[in-house]
């Protein structure tokens, strides 16, 4: 399987990464090299094999449903590029 330039642009958009025309050409050959490498898995017989869902055989731990922290809004917005009071500011989303 190999990707064309239109597919590279579609993947970049799905990934929310802006790409220039020049980058699309490079990415196409790099992605195709990686895809050609992973293509060899097609030859593996995986009939009746369950996909791995848990690395260690264990039941997922559950914790008590209780409040363990809170009232740290200052800390939460401390690293935001554009905070206002205790909000994250983004470009207008709804017209």
């Amino acid at each position: 399987m190999s990707v064309d330039t239109a597919t590279v642009r579609r993947i970049a958009h799905l990934s929310r990464i802006a790409v220039t025309d020049e980058e699309v050409t490079h990415l196409q050959s790099e992605l195709n090299a990686i895809l050609a490498f992973i293509e060899q898995l097609r030859g593996v017989d995986v009939e009746n094999v369950e996909p791995m869902t848990s690395v260690t055989p264990m039941l997922l731990k559950k914790r008590q449903d209780e409040v363990t922290d809170g009232f740290i809004a200052d800390e939460i917005v401390a690293n935001a590029p554009q905070p206002e009071d205790h909000f994250f500011v983004v470009p207008k989303v709804v017209e």
Binding site: S15, R16, L27, V46, T56, E75
Partner: protein, 502 residues
Amino acid sequence: MNDLTNLTLADARDGLKARKFSSRELTEAHLAAIAAARPLNAFLKETPDRALAMATASDERLARGEAGTLEGLPLGIKDLYCTEGVETTAASRILQGFVPPYESTVTSQLWRDGAVMLGKLNLDEFAMGSSNETSAFGPVVSPWRRNGSDAKLVPGGSSGGSAAAVAARLCLGATATDTGGSIRQPAAFTGTVGIKPTYGRCSRWGTVAFASSLDQAGPIARNVRDAAILLRSMAGPDAKDSTSVDRPVPDYEAAVGRSTKGKKIGIPREYRLDGMSSEIEALWQSGIAWLRDAGAEIVDVSLPHTKHALPAYYIVAPAEASSNLARYDGVRYGLRVPGKDVLEMYERTRAGGFGREVRRRIMIGTYVLSAGYYDAYYVRAQKVRTLIKRDFEEAFGQGVDAILTPATPSAAFAIGEKISADPVEMYLNDIFTVTVNMAGLPGIAVPGGLDKDGLPLGLQLIGRPFEEEMLFALAQVIEDAAPKVEWPQRWWQPVDKMIYPT
């Protein structure tokens, strides 16, 4: 003060307890060594004020007889671990300036036990790389050089800063992380010891996520004993990581020196690659002989799905990365590049903030998870992963206690040597280590000697789940039997700072 930086972690611990020197003296010696080693670019951030404050507090606890297991010992921290109040970047522009208001579980346990933080260590961006060349803040230069050459070599990756700093004696030990070989490959390249414990042994909480079903924390140290001491402090259950395992942490140091008589060591024939260098083959044979001499029984084993591990890894790891790295959107933390609307802001932020390799992996991950390809790529790779794990279970089911392999297909290479148009060439570095992550097993890299150019080569031991003690015992046998290797001379130090010629 170079003499204090040449101590092992265990010797420094014993020296502090015997009051031969103070933690402050030990810490100052390391801070001076770090300042003189800036050409190596191993540290992204030095934290001397914090280090000296922690050392002073340690000296007070030592004086009161309240010392923890790592009391007063200066360590380097891979810049993937969030450290409260100290910038944490994952070597990425997108996190530049990020100051976590919390501490990762693993590092908080090191501080609980009295360790001193010297600073944050360089790495491949988001731990994606095998040479430390993808760091947004420049590559790390290995303290090792080929005989008669001053070509700059890579220390391996992604924990390249950790491995370089330990080998250059800038810290007594360092934290590292391993998703496909990122502890073991740099350890092998630098003549250090690195262990990736069983998946779930160390908490992942507060460590910047790359591929959550593969990531594990572990130490890099100058010998097997030091690695055992560090892992004991780093490991343990954590309510904040649901995949951390509720098992008590053994005293790993007690396993160092334990008899390995009668232990069964598997040699997997599938690791004998076509065109494998004769030096790697000779290293492997030496390892076999050393373990046999210590009373171990050597048996052939088969791990038939080995060759599928790397391609399966390059589906699973990018898929998980594309999901984990979706959080870097320019809204809550890190870089923001403005755009005309929110979508353009996202796209510009992520294009400007992520480096080439990270963008490439996010895109591969996005592709293999996208509609129409999910079953063909991702589900198939997870099935292959089941087969890889089954191979190991069958070998261990035949009574094998551990498996011995080379750690890497070659010694360290030069900076720039493997940055080609084909990213797969770099990926092949992890061919011997990646199976271990896919199966969630523990693996340790231990030095086995030098190649013809005078560069370190490493062996890898793979264990049953949660049998890290077995790995420490066997690795110590190799360390004792392997030719003694001198640490590299401090060629990077300015001449006027060379207090003691080394």
